[in-house]
Amino acid sequence: MPIQCKQLSLSFGDLQVFDNFSLEVPDQHVTAILGPSGCGKTTLLNLMSGLLLPDRGGVSGIGDERISYLFQEPRLLPWKTVRKNVELVVTPFFPPGEVSRRSFEFLEKVGLNQFADYHPHELSGGMRQRAAVARAFAYPSGVMLMDEPFQALDLHLKLSLIELFKKLWKLEQRTAVFVTHDIQEAVLLGDTVIVLYGPPAHIRATLENPMPRVERSLKEHRILEMEQKLYSLLA
């Protein structure tokens, strides 16, 4: 089911962040929302997930759907090992043996199998974010909301995590909404890229990605063309 935001309005004090804002996110599809800082991207995710309630309007399509969340920071519990961090969110949905098997399986997929029993402070920033990715994918959800999850990482780590995402998404289709201010991330991951401006938030453009997810790279001229187009829209 597509996620539909219908006529959302929300203000923080005097600041009108959303005024009659509507948006539809297709099912099983990665939608990148691209926009400058402060245009209401994170707030939009919080409205979709229900962490925030709008003053008027509503979100449909998520219903009882479980949501995996990826934040700007890894948000791992420092007192638990990486393995326990993943198991914590998975526990309610599977029998005990399956919980540990599934958690470890996803840690393996993000390349952290050897670090499963480490605490977050013993890992590098990139490894912590990969652990958060493992948690997001191990959690049995139909929707994945991502709030600039690569923001704190260097270019190399960012590109390797993007590849990891493509691989994981191939294994398991989920509806994903991905918020970013980075054009490269948007063109590499987004099947659709929505350019957002605000406040109050409004859609400036909607671009379909011309290439299938796995073939996208920053060397492909069609991707570079799209990057150019987005650049002129944002600049």
Binding site: L51, R75, L77, P78, W79, K80, L88, V89, H119
Partner: protein, 289 residues
């Protein structure tokens, strides 16, 4: 400050080792300097203790009245005599028992009430006045009132409980309130139930606050237990012995028991900090979230 001084010293010793072949006797200076650089913190502390003992000794010599200020060797002899008596361990054992009883009762009740008051404003409002009153009551009033209510052996336990309990409760309340909102939001986003959020996110967040509360509380505990023993004079106890020595004007013995009380407190703090050190994550807590 310490870092820069130790750097300067290292530099100085480097210079010194270059000149060493040209000067006879520098080898001794070099050894002393090296030793100083390696253990300078220990040496400075050692020097401070020596100076304090020296001042004490000189003062005792000037006053020249053992009953007012006994010299360190007299206190040392008393301490040695105490250590070799059976009664000594009986007294120390009972004081430790009383202190730890009070401390652990405060700890367990403080954690339970602190968590409850930390998550529920009505419970906090209910207990806030009581905690505020206990916190501001003079220690001596607590002990004197306890003397009217309890048997002598119970007075130190009750008094130390009453002093330590608000400290621990208050710290736990602050710890629960300071739980990282971003982690709680993560918990909500992943659909963790309120109980699991409390158990896995809020309660572990309290640990650093609980540790600092426990350290303060433990320090207070020994002071209060000994004071309560001095006033209530139960059959055995460091405070009782101190009081009895004072009444018979055995000043050196009062000093010796004081040393025992100080060592007791220091030992318990050491045990506590050792157990804290085993929790490696508490150090790196801030920058991993």
């Amino acid at each position: 400050m310490t870092g820069s001084t130790s750097k300067n010293k290292k530099y100085a010793s480097g210079e010194d080792s270059q000149r060493a072949p040209r000067r006879g006797g520098t080898i001794v200076v070099k050894v002393v300097l090296n030793c100083f650089i390696r253990h300078h913190i220990l040496i400075i502390s050692g020097a401070a203790i020596t100076i304090l003992l020296g001042i004490w000794w000189i003062a005792a010599f000037v006053i020249d009245a053992t009953i007012i200020l006994p010299p360190p060797p007299a206190v040392g002899r008393e301490l040695w005599a105490l250590l070799n008596s059976n009664d000594f361990w009986h007294s120390v054992g009972l004081t430790v028992f009383r202190g730890l009883s009070g401390f652990f009762i405060s700890l367990s009740l403080g954690i339970v009430l602190g968590i409850a008051a930390g998550i529920s404003l009505p419970i906090h409002a209910l207990f806030k006045p009581l905690i505020a009153v206990i916190r501001t009551t003079p220690i001596m009033s607590v002990i004197l009132i306890a003397l009217l209510w309890f048997k002598t052996g119970t007075v130190p336990i009750f008094s130390s409980f009453l002093i330590a309990f608000p400290v621990i409760t208050q710290n736990v309340i602050v710890g629960i309130r300071q739980t990282d909102q971003k982690l709680l939001q993560m918990g909500r986003a992943y659909g963790l139930s309120a109980t699991r959020r409390l158990l896995h996110i809020s309660v572990p967040s309290v640990v650093p606050y609980l540790i600092s509360g426990a350290q303060t509380a433990l320090g207070l505990t020994w002071k209060v237990v000994v004071a309560a023993e001095v006033l209530s004079i139960p059959n055995w106890g460091v405070g009782s012995e101190m009081q009895l020595s004072q009444m018979s004007l055995e000043t050196a013995q009062v000093f010796a028991w004081t040393v025992v009380a100080i060592l007791l407190s220091a030992a318990s703090q050491w045990v506590l900090s050792m157990s804290i050190r085993s929790m490696s994550w508490s150090k790196a807590y801030a920058d991993t979230v």
